[in-house]
């Protein structure tokens, strides 16, 4: 910059002239209008009296109280419980595969990546419907068992395990890929050193692999946890009416019940919970290092 005059003008002007700031502007404005705006409005509605459709009433906490008194917290408990179970199962299922992709498969790892990624691109509804056809009474699994063994297994669909199965199925890639990134970050030399020093396999896993792969594990775990918390289709398509998850409650509050403030309160609570978890994650993780591998 020529001369001290422009600099003394304040950091403000020069900050806005930086190419990075200019490049960030379109997306930031877009998300301000399309994301921050609606979010603030939902927060606003959560303080409006029940069954009102405008934001100019006197603020009240009635909706927050009714979440507890009208036992809406039950769907929260179900969602949280299913999220915990799903994340644990996903970790156990994906860890060996991720380990294979990062350390064993070599060139084949790309093929596995493609094989796992392609189903994401097909609508979740369609894939879940495939499982309905399989698990249905007289469906593919039941029909096969009847023809081959004469045994009927008809009570599989519309159960809690069916929902968990669907959740594990749909969100598997979102656990697997972060785990692969995490495990790739473990230097082989470190494991060999531990092994030379007499560490057992389990010790190596617990003391070397797990801590070093932790950023990947945390991203995968938290991403899938939040996705399950907000999921809607799995419990509706595979679970029928057996349980109500939180997104279900939110949807019916906004649509059938026409109670926007109630729906807003549940949304705010769900978002606060997810937001808190993401916030904790982002504080502990350097995105440049994980995405850019710098």
């Amino acid at each position: 910059m020529a001369g001290g005059k422009a600099e003394r003008h304040g950091d403000h002007v020069s900050w806005f002239r930086q190419p990075g700031v200019l490049a960030a502007l379109p997306v930031s404005l877009f998300l301000l209008v399309g994301f921050a705006g609606p979010l603030l409005m939902v927060i606003g509605y959560s303080f409006m009296p029940p069954r009102t459709f405008s934001l100019d009433q006197a603020p009240t906490l009635a909706n927050y109280v009714s979440v507890v008194t009208d036992s809406y917290y039950l769907s929260f408990v179900w969602s949280l419980w299913l999220a915990v179970v799903t994340v644990v199962l996903l970790f156990l299922i994906c860890y060996p595969i991720a380990y294979g992709m990062a350390k064993l498969f070599g060139r084949w790892a790309n093929l596995v990546t493609a094989a796992v990624a392609i189903p994401i691109l097909i609508s979740e509804n369609i894939r879940l419907f495939g499982w309905v056809l399989i698990l249905l009474k007289n469906g593919i699994f039941d029909g096969t068992m009847q023809t081959l063994f004469g045994v009927s297994v008809s009570g599989l669909l519309y159960t809690v395990p069916a929902i968990i199965f669907g959740l594990v199925y749909v969100y598997l890639p979102f656990m697997l890929f972060p785990l692969v990134i995490g495990i790739t970050m473990i230097p082989d030399a470190l494991k060999e050193a531990a092994s030379d020093l007499g560490a057992s396999r389990w010790q190596i896993f617990r003391e070397v692999e797990l801590p070093l792969a932790m950023p990947g594990i945390m991203i995968g775990g938290i991403l899938t946890f939040i996705l399950v918390l907000g999921s809607l289709a799995e419990s509706k398509i595979l679970g029928g009416q057996v349980i109500v998850m939180i997104s279900d409650d939110i949807e019916s509050a906004f649509t059938f019940a026409q109670n926007w403030p109630k729906g807003s309160v549940l949304s705010v609570l769900l978002l606060a919970l997810s937001g808190l978890i993401v916030f904790v994650l982002f504080r502990r993780i350097d995105l440049d290092r994980i995405i850019g591998r710098r």
């Binding site: 399309g34 094989a115 097909i122 979740e124 509804n125 495939g130 056809l133 007289n138 907000g230 710098r294």
Partner: protein
């Protein structure tokens, strides 16, 4: 490195486990294709009579054509706008150093972590508050809130490996800003732009939770499928499901072949340049 017997066993187990899980990923697709060829109105297995009549019926149906057209229009517009916005978004994410970048990175990724159904409902409230009637055009906007951040993320991976010195060299040689963008930045980042575009298209094409609340009177394919699934079985569900799956597969294959051709061409050109 010599593998011990137990290491070889672990390896075999991991390979088998991976194959089993991948098999499970594709089982429901196979189930849908099977069901689409069954003649019965209500699905029963084993299938007694086979038919392709549901395909002719589905393809002839005008409402299905409307659905496909709506889904396609939404997905194409989402792809176009997302790629445009995310290109600059990714440069700000990974290319430039600026004060506030770390905060920007986190804020831009936030919508990805957001429950989509809640985002869709919040947008519904938002549209009604600012007096916009929902239709497939508002669905384009809604999809973009979720898809733009994903495309930013995908493109950023490419941008991280981009060497800024190339741009600076071009500037030093007297190129204008526009020339640098067209001759240097865009060609080098094109793989990231293309994969971002593919993701944008397919994620929009298959999206359900955002469409559900933002399309108003219009309907996309996933919405229609969901409505039919919940209200009762009709053979058109697996048929349209199979059709959209094959559509996505054809799309991926075409893109893959185009990509192979492009890389082969650039390799040839580079080879020629090296020979001269």
């Amino acid at each position: 490195m010599e593998l011990s017997a137990s290491q070889r066993l672990t390896r075999t187990i991991i390979v088998i486990w991976t194959c089993v899980v991948i098999f499970f990923l594709y089982v429901p697709m196979a189930a849908i294709i099977l069901a689409s060829f069954s003649k019965q109105r209500y699905f029963r297995f084993p299938i007694s009579t086979w038919t392709t009549e549901w395909y002719t019926k589905t393809l002839e149906s005008l409402s299905v054509r409307d659905l496909l057209w709506t889904s396609l229009s939404v997905a194409l517009l989402v792809t176009l706008f997302s790629v445009l916005l995310a290109f600059f978004g990714a440069l700000a994410f990974a290319r430039y150093e600026w004060k506030g970048r770390k905060l920007y990175q986190r804020l831009v990724l936030l919508p990805i972590f957001f429950p989509q159904a809640v985002l869709g409902l919040a947008l519904l409230l938002w549209f009604s508050a600012i007096g916009v009637t929902t239709s497939w055009q508002t669905a384009v906007f809604a999809h973009m809130i979720w898809i733009v951040p994903i495309v930013v993320l995908i493109m950023s991976i490419q941008v991280y490996s981009f060497d800024p010195a190339l741009e600076e060299a071009a500037f030093d040689l007297g190129a204008s800003r526009w020339q640098v963008l067209r001759e240097i930045t865009l060609p080098i980042l094109s793989p990231g732009i293309i994969s971002g575009g593919i993701f944008a298209f397919l994620l929009s094409w298959g999206n359900f939770p955002l469409s559900l609340f933002s399309t108003g009177a219009d309907q996309t394919v996933p919405e229609w499928l969901y409505a039919k699934m919940v209200s009762g079985y009709t053979p058109q569900v697996p048929t349209l499901g199979s059709l959209t799956m094959s559509g996505a597969t054809v799309f991926l294959i075409v893109v893959y072949i185009a990509w192979l051709a492009l890389t082969a061409r650039s390799r040839r050109m580079r080879g020629r340049a090296a020979a001269e």
